[in-house]
């Protein structure tokens, strides 16, 4: 992109044109609309525009919701059913499963580690017969809507690098994340809201100490307006959103009218188009002061809808609340919502905290899919559920001490599910060996997964690039193959 082009994309002058009819107290700005004073920029939609040439292909999905499960959910206890694990419970891991593999320092060498049977029983569900354990009854009920990918594998063994790889394509922080790429490529349809929104939660009483680093939703070297805007879990969702005490809406409006008029004088005198952008952004800020609280006002959601998400849906900062917000956000044109829930790091809590994790995430996740479906939004909304790696089929802890059973980090195989947005509902893709240790059929590397997600959204992952430090960067680094078999 040339600097001029880049500049034009940044310019909100067209946003200005686009919204001149709805200008609030902007009568004085009509001078701006004199075509002779304007650059010959195309008049486009309000908000961030999509890049020329995009989408590269007919999109199956128009937006994405990533239900990211930080800490690595245990695939062998939730989705990847292995009867042999049951049979070999308490027996050492056979050597050929672990030869040459690297685990976290907590495990060190895996030799001689004892296999651990799944904590809860598994059943097959729906017409598809997908296996889901009793940990996730609500997910089990919508199994026919889901596409399980059981053959994911990654390069990272620790959380932050693993999550970074999953979301940005690189273990080291500093690359743009999926949501940033989507906004950069596809632009925004949200008039009054940021186009990439992030919300985080953790189950109450969890011992997990994982941090939500801001690079999980960073824009890396992309311009910072593509960075995810994190809505807070308590108080105002956006920092500094509320007017100061004593400033009424009327006062604020009056003040912004003056400000716009004064800035317009400056623009006429000086000519710097950045001033026009500033005027527009102050107006957007004013609108967000209304649109964000409106977004967060769920009083008009019927009980039947709230019930889908489970009992904690009304409590700000819970996963259930965030799932509902995710739906409300995409309804308002937001391109990508990343809902993150921490605490899946069951090193010693498979029989304790794992239940809490599932209680707090199972119903909301399933409820969101059902809610999207009943509104006809599921067809063009891609929902992704999963974490950064899996957990070891062998035990961490002492077999005799059931209360502290745990599993360590496991990069060699894990499960995620997809729903809506052009994926094959009811499909189970890929397979691990009979212990859930290694992928044996249709492996899907993180970069393949990402290539597929982009493909569903109409993007050729090799063509959505950004030049930085002399290199064309992309989400999938220099890797990634689209898994066409997942796509309906």
């Amino acid at each position: 992109m040339t600097p001029l082009h880049e500049r034009r994309l940044q310019l909100t002058r067209r946003e200005f044109l686009g919204r001149s009819g709805t200008g609030l107290g902007l009568a004085s700005l009509t001078g701006l609309l004199d075509p002779k004073r304007l650059m010959a920029a195309p008049v486009a939609r309000v908000g961030m525009t999509r890049l020329p040439g995009l989408p590269h292909l007919a999109p199956k999905a128009k937006r994405a919701i990533y239900l990211f499960q930080n800490g690595a959910p245990t695939h062998v206890d939730l989705f990847d059913y292995k009867p042999k694990l049951q049979q070999l419970h308490g027996k050492p891991v056979p050597d050929d499963y672990i030869a040459g593999k690297r685990f976290s320092t907590m495990t060190g060498k895996a030799d001689g580690k004892l296999l651990l049977a799944p904590v809860e029983p598994f059943h097959q569900h729906g017409r598809s017969g997908a296996w889901v354990s009793e940990f996730l009854p609500h997910t089990a009920r919508i199994a026919d809507e889901l596409c399980f990918v059981k053959s994911l594998h990654t390069d990272a063994v620790n959380h932050a690098p693993g999550i970074s790889l999953m979301l940005s394509g690189a273990q080291i922080p500093g690359r743009p994340t999926l949501g940033a790429w989507l906004t950069y490529g596809l632009g925004s349809d949200a008039e009054n809201l940021p186009s990439f929104v992030v919300m985080t939660s953790v189950s109450k009483g969890t011992t997990c100490g994982q941090i939500f680093y801001d690079f999980y939703w960073g824009s890396g070297f992309l311009p910072s307006r593509y960075q995810g805007v994190k809505f807070r879990g308590s108080g105002e969702p956006v920092l500094y959103l509320g007017d100061p005490a004593g400033i009424s809406r009327t006062t604020r409006r009056a003040m912004l009218d003056d400000l716009a008029e004064l800035n317009d004088l400056k623009l006429r005198e000086h000519g710097d188009p950045e001033i026009a952008t500033r005027i527009a952004q102050y107006e957007m800020a004013f609108r967000m002061q209304t649109s964000v609280p409106e977004l967060a006002d769920i009083s008009r959601e019927p009980a039947s809808v709230l019930d889908l998400y489970g009992p904690s849906v009304k409590e700000q900062g819970t996963f259930a609340y965030n799932c509902l917000m995710a739906r409300r956000l995409i309804e308002r044109g937001v391109r990508c919502v990343q809902v993150m829930h921490a605490g899946w790091d069951q090193h010693r809590s498979l029989t304790t905290e794992l239940y809490t994790q599932c209680r707090d995430t199972d119903q909301p996740s399933a409820g969101l899919v059902a809610d999207l479906k009943q509104r006809g939004l599921l067809d063009d909304t891609l929902v992704i559920w999963g974490g950064e790696f899996g957990r070891t089929p062998f035990i961490q802890g002492n077999l005799d001490d059931r209360k502290f059973w745990g599993r360590d980090h496991h990069p060699y195989a894990f499960t995620s599910w997809l729903a809506g947005g052009g994926v094959k509902a009811g499909l189970t893709y890929g397979e691990t060996d009979d212990l859930g240790m290694n992928v044996v059929r249709d492996p899907v590397h993180v970069h393949d997964f990402q290539a597929t997600l982009l493909h569903l959204l109409g993007i050729d992952h090799e063509r959505l690039t950004y030049r930085f430090q002399g290199r064309d960067f992309r989400l999938t680094d220099v890797h990634g193959k689209v898994v066409h078999d997942l796509i309906s």
Partner: protein, 838 residues
Amino acid sequence: MRIRTSLSLGVAIIGAIALIGKTSAAEASPPASIAFSRDILPLLSDNCFTCHGPDEQARKAKLRLDTREGAFGKGKSGEFALVAKDSGHSEVIRRLTTSDPDDVMPPPKSKRRLTPAQVELIRNWIDQGAFWGRHWAYEPPLRPPVPPTAGEIRNPIDAFVQARLAKEGLNASPEAPRATLIRRMTLDLTGLPPTPNEVSEFLNDSSLDAYDRLADRLLASPRYGERMAWEWLEAARYADSNGYQGDSERTMWPWRDWVVDAFNRNLPFDQFTLWQIAGDRLPQATLEQRLATGFLRNHMINGEGGRISEENRIDYLFDQAETVATVWLGATFNCTRCHDHKYDPYTQRDYYGLLAFFNQTAIDGSGGNPQAPPNLALPSPEQTRRLADFDGKLESGVRATELFEAGKFAREPGKPIEEAAAAKDLPKEVLDLLKIEPRDRDVGRLEKLAAHWKDSDPAYVRVIEENRKTRNDRDGVTRSVLRVMVMEDMPKPRLTYILNRGNYLKPGAEAGMAVPASLSTGNTDSRSNRLDLAQWLIAPENPLTARVTVNRFWQTFFGMGLVKTTEDFGVQGEKPVNPELLDWLATEFIATGWDVKRLVRLMVTSAAYRQSSKVTPALFERDPENRLLARGPRFRMTSWMIRDAALAEAGLLTEQMGGAPMKPYQPTGVWEEATFGNKRYEQDHGAALYRRSLYVFWRRIIGPTMFFDVASRQTCTVKTPRTNVPLHALLTLNDTAYVEAARGLAQRVLRSSARDTERLSLACRGVLGRPPTADEQRILTHGLERHRRNFASDPAAAARLLEIGETPRDAGLDPGEHAAWTVLCSTLLNLDEALTKE
């Protein structure tokens, strides 16, 4: 043949049109003759180097096009890639133009393609003789002659700028109004706006050198160092915590204060470099020189459980090598961590050769100690005195113990203690403790000894207890002494290995300490420690350090570097918009002894800097980013500068320099939410709230919320974005600090005069450096009346507004009036002009 000729002529015409079509301001005039480094190398680099470049592993068909030998040699197919003056026999041209999908280059699956115009350019270059050269940035800068010019010039910068403008058929803008100039320069050199008095003094100073004297005054202000330190802290990834999970607090701020002081004292940049890279290795290194090496230790530290120490240690070395490469060489060294560079002449060996210089400390990467040794203890005078007191007390305590034990465990001289009668039946553990010299018994040992004799020998226990207490107190003081992580090499060198794909578990060949081979000059064998590296960085023949550095300073004042890619001076970086100016500045910088203040003064006293920043649509279209400088710089101030300016304008700013970081207003719960309650934000009170932004506590995993478009302070950053989004507006409209600043400014103007016009004038002069225009006065006065009416009808609202912020307000002021003026002042603080360096 005739058809071919006319075809290529056609292509050439289309090419010419295409070239004009894509002309941006920076490259408006088509090249008169083709220059290899400017015109050809980028094409080869973009399209060919991935497979035919410096990376040996990735090289296809054994052909390399990044060296003269490779490009003119015979390829695997037996053809010559390039034959000078004969494009017809150059395989490159055939491959670029063939329609055979197996032969065509770049291969279709690479999705790269040259335009016909680009192919034509290469063809012409070959036919003109295929003159080869090196990428410009790797040739030492030669001092270019100052071009003659007809326009007004104040120093040689202007001659270069105007020569470039003349080439484009553009004219410089007239000088900006003086009120604009003093605000522009004061913001640039101190990060604070001029006071109304400073403005009027300057406006009334009709002497010819008034502007130059202003520059001198600002450069001499202690605020200058505070302002200049910011970008250096971003490059140095300075922060007050480790980063990562745990994110322990560290105490690197004495290093930060050293940076401020170094700028204020005008420490020459070569010394500034030398001290930070290798101050500890200078002969008779001073405390200050050792402190400066904290630069290298500002990297993040990972204390996450389960992390492998060696992996951490290697990560820190990566960070050190890459930071130094970015800051001094403008090199994207991170690419060479895993393989030879795809575009630039840096190899993976170069990477580990550079890393080897830093691989000599005793740091082992374990744990998350935020003061991991080697560190420098910086006791306060009080602590030094107390430690000396304790040492004296301890010495007498040790003597008392020796005396007591000589009596208690009396034995023949030379015999071990177990032969003493009183030691006969002692448990082994106690006996072992007694064998330790009294001066080496720490608190824990003394506790055990005291416990053993608790009931049997109260006199002995008294002696032990006395020692234990002194030691305990002394340990307490020692623990509270500031420690700054610094560099210090182990006596015995550690070997460094090339790591396969950067994996610490896969060491390959050994890599000795070395500077990048392609840039190396002089005797390379003797480089054996960081001092050698530092000296190479500042050697006059180093082609990069001076260029990269002057470019960063240029970026600071003009908003964008002469090379826009501040972080990348390689083949894929941007070519300088005015190469002669860049090289003149670089050579001038070296010739004047790396004198930073002199360089800065040169920039801010140039006519180019002093131009009006007004822009016409035509000029904007031509040069949106103002690369050519046909107008003065105008851009939104950095967010930290906006905060400092608001505090200053409100009369709230605390000028205290240096010291421990402070915590200003921040919405509640931000740290708590990001750290699951592990880190509580305890806001400061009183004067600390109004200290400059430089001193705000920087938590790495959740940075201060009152800043935007700043470096994350996680890794080296030499260029920050400048965005314009609604969240910025929300901050300056609603943040407590800005509301309080508006209230403070309102109070100032209300006290200054009883007349609205005078008050308004003072407020505008404080914020904008100028009185309001008639139109502005009309709008603001009208607004003020509305605000008055609003607050008159709702006095409670006025009271609530005036309660925001911790500074007490002058209770003598009418609340409704004060509130109305507060809203007006908030309007002023949010004006585009107030947020902008114009």
